[in-house]
Amino acid sequence: MQTQYKNLGWNALFVLILVALGGLVFLSGKKIDYNWNWQRVVPYIVNNQASAVTAPEDGNIVSNAEGDLVLESLAGDVLVDLSEYEDLLVYEGDLIFEGDRLASLEEWRIGPLTEGLIVTIKISLWSLLFAIVLGLIIGLMRISSNPAVKKLSIAYVELIRGTPLLVQIFIVYFFIGTVFDLERFVAGVIALSLFTAAYVAEIVRAGIQSIPKGQMEAARSLGMSYPKAMIYVILPQAFKRTLPPLAGQFINLIKDSSLVSVISITDLTKAGREVVSGSFAPFEVWFTVALLYLLLTSSLSWAIQRLEKRLSASD
């Protein structure tokens, strides 16, 4: 009971500090005489702006047998059945030219920020997939007894870890991208995968080396080949141990993906930059962008925690 009360006090202090920090941000926002307007951000996430239904070619508005209005072409074919729409802008007998507005349609559409978010998710998932595969291969090469294979992987890891991601993105896009005629999205995925794979490889190597030697010996003594022992004995254990550092690396990958905006991929960050110039609400937009990134990274870390819990059955 005693400790419970004590903890209650500390938890209260934690909340208090958060509130104080929040208040500070709020006050400093006030102080700079900035007109906060969060509503301006909403249309860039989702909007239900009216869009127009236009005539595909010239024709007349007539009523058909059921008494509904339709657009009939000059040849007498029904082009558009207007009974589907509620807000009609035309009347019976109107002469219509190609491109004229027939009706307005309200529908929910995703805004540019959401589109950017989707691009970020796509680029992160593709890069994640390739980084895992490539990282596993490089990590296994790193512990090989063959000097050529081993040194290749060391060289790779040193090369990638020793140069900035931003520079790598430029090199992949401008050099490799030009040589192989790559799209910018593909170039972005390649740069991010190559970069993350180097770190994944080091994590995989450390994970495998942390498994006691006796495990490999026991597996081999049962007649398993080296690959079988790896697949069924070593890697499952290493995977469990490396989940926490891998989670950190994958969260980094999502955040690093913001750098691909430099090669004109409209990811969340670039969408944010574009929206700022259109909405004149930089503070709100950047806070929103940060929140969306946080949403991505926290769902990933939640998913990995779930996985860790499931794997802890054998502890």
Binding site: P212, E217, L222, M224, K228, S314
Partner: protein, 250 residues
């Protein structure tokens, strides 16, 4: 090929030497033969090379020179598939080395499923029988972390037996156990010996050696010094170094 081997010499080690890259000479011209159904116990002070010798018998250690024939197969012949040969030679380790991510049953079933490619139903029936045999019928679904040392070592024995080996190697199987658990593991090993399994055991359990062994080997400094029946070994040791060793451990 080896499954059909009918000869009497299950293991023939001929003048094997092991020199580590750092110059340490771990095995010096060791020659020994283990016959079918024989229980051979190797004793000696630590660092004498007895574990190295045992591990050389399933090539967990490669040798520098000499030859080893196991179950009728020359281990270092070009045509020998070491993985196939290891299926015939079960091994039990000092530190159990159970797979921590598998249950007791999963540990025993893994190699039959993935190496011998038996079907799941057969593998499971066999595994349950083996675990029953080592007295663990109520612990089949436990993970190693939930088993005592003695129980883990019995699972490890069942796991090695699951590949239906012709030879069993034991590398100090009771050295990492609490004293009260040594008995249960030795009982399982005695049962195996009684069934006629060919066994090579490195151990410090002199009682086991005297009671179960057909022959006892004494190693020191990488040399095989004594190769005798238990009676001659314990009651009338001739070798002065063996006498000194026995006076310290008995």
């Amino acid at each position: 090929m080896t499954r059909d081997y009918q000869g009497n010499d299950m293991i023939v080690a001929d003048k094997i030497n092991k020199i580590y890259p750092n110059g340490c000479h771990a095995l010096k011209d060791v020659s020994a033969t283990v016959h079918r159904g024989e229980v051979v116990v190797i004793v000696g002070p630590s660092g004498s090379g007895k574990s190295t010798f045992l591990r050389a018998l399933n090539q967990l250690e490669t040798i520098s020179s000499g030859s080893i024939t196991v179950d009728g197969t020359d281990m270092y012949a070009k045509s020998t598939d070491i993985n196939k040969l290891r299926e015939e030679v079960g091994m039990v380790f000092q530190n159990f080395n159970l797979f921590p991510h598998k249950t007791a049953l999963g540990n025993v079933m893994l190699a039959p499923l993935k190496v011998a490619k038996r079907d799941a139903a057969t593998a499971e029936t066999d595994a349950r029988d083996l675990l029953k045999r080592v007295g663990l019928s109520d612990r089949m679904d436990n993970y190693p972390s939930h088993l005592s040392g003695g129980q883990q070592q019995r699972v490890a024995i069942a796991r090695a037996l699951a590949m239906k080996p012709n030879i069993m190697l034991f590398d100090e199987p009771t050295s990492a156990l609490d004293p009260e658990m040594v008995g249960e593991v030795l009982d399982v090993m005695k049962g195996l010996a009684a069934e006629g399994m060919t066994m090579v055991v490195v151990t410090h359990e002199m009682g086991f050696a005297r009671e179960v062994a057909d022959r006892v080997l004494f190693m020191e400094d990488g040399e095989l010094l004594v190769n005798e029946t238990p009676e001659a070994f314990f009651d009338d040791p001739e070798n002065p170094r063996l006498r000194q060793f026995l006076s310290m451990v008995l």
